[in-house]
């Protein structure tokens, strides 16, 4: 029952032709595009850990691009190398082979944990990011206050991270990421540890900021409905090794609800393919 619907909905093995921008698997194809260049272009990226017989292939020739202003969600079962891929794009690690281009865009990375510095107040945490970005001392305070306002934390700048709730901390982390003046936001299951209501609200906050600021977002999650709720595209990665096995365009009008019928419909289809992928590892 699932097979036909999945394929019909855009599940294309490897790189899908639906993704915006000329997405080819060759290196030269990535080079020649200049006009409508992608905000993030991942070309044939492989990443292996270890050597010899204990080698683990985390990513296997993954190609993926995020157009400027596009919201791309990356889903996959555990072991698909989602987090590894984000680390590579953020420049925290180097790919074993293949190329990653962020086209000169500034990149900010958010984690599942807020990763705030516990000895600094919320405002100071943001100011530190501003400082690292090169914002002058005089400007930092006002900018930090503005950013806190953006994530609805106006009155909480003086609080330390441990005095805030999980959702509030994650919003401080979001403000800090925005403070890096990034054009590209990489998010690694940023709302995975939050309760449903907080998460829903943060979806709205994130969506609003994404729109107004014209951000490009690469958002990793294991929650398929969340991916459908947020993404312009949902890219499905296989597990061990990570490989792009599906690329779904989400044509639903925004803002979408996590629980709306259309979101759920599409999520069911994607989930079915994800399940097949997991079953493949069971045999």
């Amino acid at each position: 029952m699932q097979d036909s619907t999945v394929l019909q909905n855009g599940g294309q093995p490897n790189t899908g032709p639906r993704s915006p921008g000329p997405e080819n698997t060759g290196q030269d194809a990535a080079m020649q595009t200049t006009g409508q260049d992608a905000a993030v272009r991942i070309t044939e990226v492989s990443k292996t850990f270890g050597r010899g017989p204990s080698t683990v292939v985390a990513l296997d020739r993954v190609s993926l691009s995020v157009a400027p202003g596009e919201f791309v969600c990356l889903i996959g079962a555990s072991g698909c190398g989602k987090s590894t891929l984000l680390s590579l794009v953020a420049g925290l690690d180097r790919p074993t082979s293949g190329g990653i281009s962020t086209n000169g865009n500034r990149v900010a990375l958010m984690f599942q944990e807020p990763a705030l510095f516990p000895w600094l107040t919320a405002a100071r945490n943001i100011e530190l990011a501003l400082r690292a970005t090169g914002v002058s001392r005089a400007e930092r305070r006002d900018r930090a206050a503005e950013l806190l306002e953006l994530v609805h934390l106006g009155g909480f700048g003086g609080k330390r991270p441990h005095e805030l709730s999980g959702g509030m901390r994650q919003r401080v982390a979001l403000a800090r990421a925005l403070g890096q003046e990034a054009d590209v936001l990489l998010m690694d299951e940023p709302f995975g540890a939050l309760d449903a209501m907080t998460r829903d609200l943060l979806h709205e906050v994130l969506e609003g900021l994404w729109r107004r600021r014209g951000l490009s977002v690469l958002f990793v999650t294991h929650e398929v409905r969340e991916a459908v709720r947020l993404g312009d595209r949902v890219v499905l990665l296989s597990s061990r090794p990570g490989r792009v096995i599906g690329d779904f365009r989400v044509d639903l009008e925004r803002p979408r609800g996590m629980d709306s019928a259309d979101t759920v419909d599409l999520a069911i289809k994607i989930k079915a393919q994800l399940r097949e992928e997991v079953i493949r590892h069971g045999s």
């Binding site: 984690f111 609800g257 629980d259 709306s260 259309d262």
Partner: protein
């Protein structure tokens, strides 16, 4: 694909601000009861008073048992008045002054040297392999074993004592810093690096503040070693015409003055506990600031 999405989930037109403010207010309610100052002081003091009472009681019991003659083992009723008497004497206070001056200078030197070595070793990998285990080795070496070397090298003077204090305390301080740097949470390191913190900025804004709690623990341990080394030193290195705690203790031994010796021992104990208390206050402040002492209050 259907267009209708507003029927389910969150209403699209309303901004999330109001709902968020509501959730935040619910989250921020703190249930930690605020106690008044007298209550706080009493809560901190009574366990110590109880401990003191137990010690004095046990001491008095042993004294009463008649196990040893009162000259060899005096009871609190003899020693405490002696302590009271000496406290009104300039000699004890000038001795305390000399000893604490040595403690401060010795610990200060250990602080500088230990921090410098710790910073270097945590930063430079080859040095780490070579010196790391050496530092731990030094830490296990009883400081009193250094005195023959120190006395021959420096002579019977303050330098010999300070040398041994530094050798006793610096390894703990260096190890504290190294451990702090090592255990900087990897997630914070990743966050710092994506923010663009590099090299010195990374150290200044992330690694050093992150290692502060461990560093202070190292300082505390270093102080304990410094204090022991100092007492050993003052008993061994007697310098003419200077009175120190060690000299007073040594004199009491020579005169078989047990109440006097016990008085000085009490002074040594109290001084050690007081300085340790200062470190505990610093430690507690940092822990509270870092959110380490707080139980999670999210709900």
């Amino acid at each position: 694909m259907a267009v209708d999405t507003s029927a389910h989930g969150t209403p699209p037109t309303e901004t999330p601000a109001a709902a968020i403010a509501g959730l935040d207010n619910l989250d921020m309610v703190q249930v930690t009861p605020r106690r008044r100052l007298p209550e706080k002081v009493w809560a901190a003091v009574w366990p110590k008073l109880l401990a003191l009472a137990i010690v004095l009681g046990a001491w008095q019991l042993v004294y009463l048992s008649g196990w040893k003659s009162p000259a060899v083992f005096p009871g609190p009723a003899t020693v405490l008045p002696d302590l009271w008497g000496q406290a009104h004497h300039g000699l004890l206070w000038s001795a305390i002054g000399t000893t604490m001056k040595r403690a401060v200078i010795g610990f200060g030197l250990a602080l500088i040297i230990g921090s410098f070595v710790g910073a270097l070793v945590s930063r430079i990998k080859p040095l780490r392999a070579a010196v790391g285990s050496l530092i731990t080795g030094l830490q296990t070496m009883p400081s009193i074993a250094w005195f023959p070397f120190a006395i021959i090298f420096f002579g019977l003077n303050t330098s010999a004592i300070l040398f041994v204090i530094v050798l006793g305390a610096a390894p703990s301080i260096a190890n504290g810093l190294i451990a702090g740097v090592d255990y900087t949470p990897p997630l914070l390191l990743r966050a710092g690096k994506t923010m663009g913190l590099r090299r010195i900025a990374l150290y200044r804004h992330l690694i050093l503040p992150a290692s502060l709690p461990t560093y202070v623990a190292g300082l505390k341990q270093g102080w304990a070693f410094a204090w022991r080394s100092l007492m050993a030193g003052e008993l061994l290195v007697i310098i003419a015409n200077t009175s120190s705690i060690g000299v007073l203790l040594s004199n009491d031994q020579d005169q078989t003055d047990m109440p006097g010796a016990m008085t000085i021992m009490i002074v040594i104990l109290v001084l050690g506990i007081m300085v340790d208390g200062l470190f505990n206050i610093a430690d507690g402040r940092i822990r509270r600031r870092w959110g380490l002492a707080d139980s999670a209050q999210t709900g």
